[in-house]
Symmetry: C2
Subunit: 240 residues, 2 copies
């Protein structure tokens, strides 16, 4: 985030007055990436090419235009910088400590997003180098206060996944119960009893079997499920 170089509209960066804080958005994009026979919870980082923190990894993001909504700005930067159009995007927290940007006082409205594995074409024209990093193998110092932002996003995700039905956002439209359980494993890091997991998630009514089965496995073919919730129903309370 917080790059002054590329953006869609002409932005008079240097003409910005010094006496008022400016506003940007940063997005923690979560996804499951396959590493050595294991799905790992990962976040997408982009490498900065301009100072400050040139060459370091940072969260994607950028300015908020005049007349532009915050979520709208977040989606725009994701689209132009990573090519992603996440279905789940939620505001996380607003970081406004004056020292977080060495150049000037910039406020960052942080969001977090969940994207499916099959949406992972990282843009037709990614403007800058982008990489998925496993959340427990992040590059050592990140730009700005992005370590704190990611930590908090992880905390929120781990909390929310245990009471809200958002895990589906990391999977394709149809999935097996084992896949869904592995999502919880990747996020929470704790093993879950397959038996009780099935009962719990079936009783919640948020998923329903499609009737189809997975062929080709080495063992008994599992059922395919799909989520019954519309995207609107995923948001538990926050406003527009």
């Amino acid at each position: 985030m917080l790059d002054t170089s590329t953006d869609n509209a002409p932005e008079p960066v240097m003409q910005r007055p010094e006496n008022w804080p400016t506003v940007g958005v940063s997005v923690v994009i979560f996804s499951l990436q396959l590493t050595e026979e294991e799905r790992r919870l990962s976040v997408l980082l982009v490498r900065r090419d301009a100072p400050p923190f040139a060459g370091m990894w940072a969260l994607p993001g950028g300015w908020v235009h005049y007349g532009e909504g915050l979520e709208q700005a977040a989606r725009r930067h994701l689209r132009t910088k990573t090519g992603l159009r996440p279905t789940y995007l939620e505001q996380l927290y607003t970081f406004g400590q004056p020292g977080r940007d060495p150049r000037e006082h910039r406020i960052a409205v942080a969001y977090y997003a969940l994207v499916r594995n099959d949406e992972h074409e990282l843009s037709a024209a990614p403007e800058r180098e982008a990489r998925w990093y496993s959340v427990d193998q992040l590059p050592a110092p990140l730009a700005f206060d992005n370590d704190a932002i990611i930590s908090y996003a992880l905390w929120r995700l781990r909390n929310k996944v245990s009471y809200a039905a958002i895990a589906f956002q990391l999977l394709p439209p149809t999935f097996t119960l084992t896949q869904l359980r592995e999502v919880y494993l990747a996020i929470l890091g704790t093993k879950i009893d397959p038996t009780n997991f099935r009962r719990k998630v079936e009783a919640s009514g948020t998923i329903v079997p499609t009737g189809a089965r997975v062929e080709g496995g080495a063992h008994r073919p599992p059922q395919l499920y799909r989520c019954t919730l519309s995207p609107d129903q995923l948001f538990t309370g926050p406003p527009s």
Copy 2:
């Protein structure tokens, strides 16, 4: 919030450029107010004296200065506009819809605060008319999107009070279990079994009897309890 008239530092309001959004803070201050033998959950509103929405009631707040932290700005506006110095202040959400201020694109970082009943001296010199309103008797249209902000703050408070020990913030340092139960009643609106409430809150270990008792009541004198948690322990996860 969002008044352009009075503030501490000289603020070149009219020189602010049109092409970037500006940033303010708004605070939903919760308190228990006694109305007809009943404690009611109330929020503090101030009357606007300048357009837009002149004469209407609004949340206290104002600009964020350059080099000033967000929470710091929230506390400053509370201090100067209402005289309150709340012990509990937590960021709520950031509202950035372009249309929320008819004059210009202003982003509001909303906070919510809990204040005790004995801190209710509403400032030695309140710069503007301020009043406590019961949350279910708010004045009809509030300025800006303040209705939405209060609704969301209420939602958050009701959620949080059921899993975090923050109800004490609305009571004096020592209190009876009945008083504490009435806080939950005022916030949640649901009656609670005194028996089970006692057990639950005692088992949690967050309160401890002081040994003292309340004299002068018409019946058996209850014990006085006090909270064992330091203010730091009240925050469950969010960053600095």
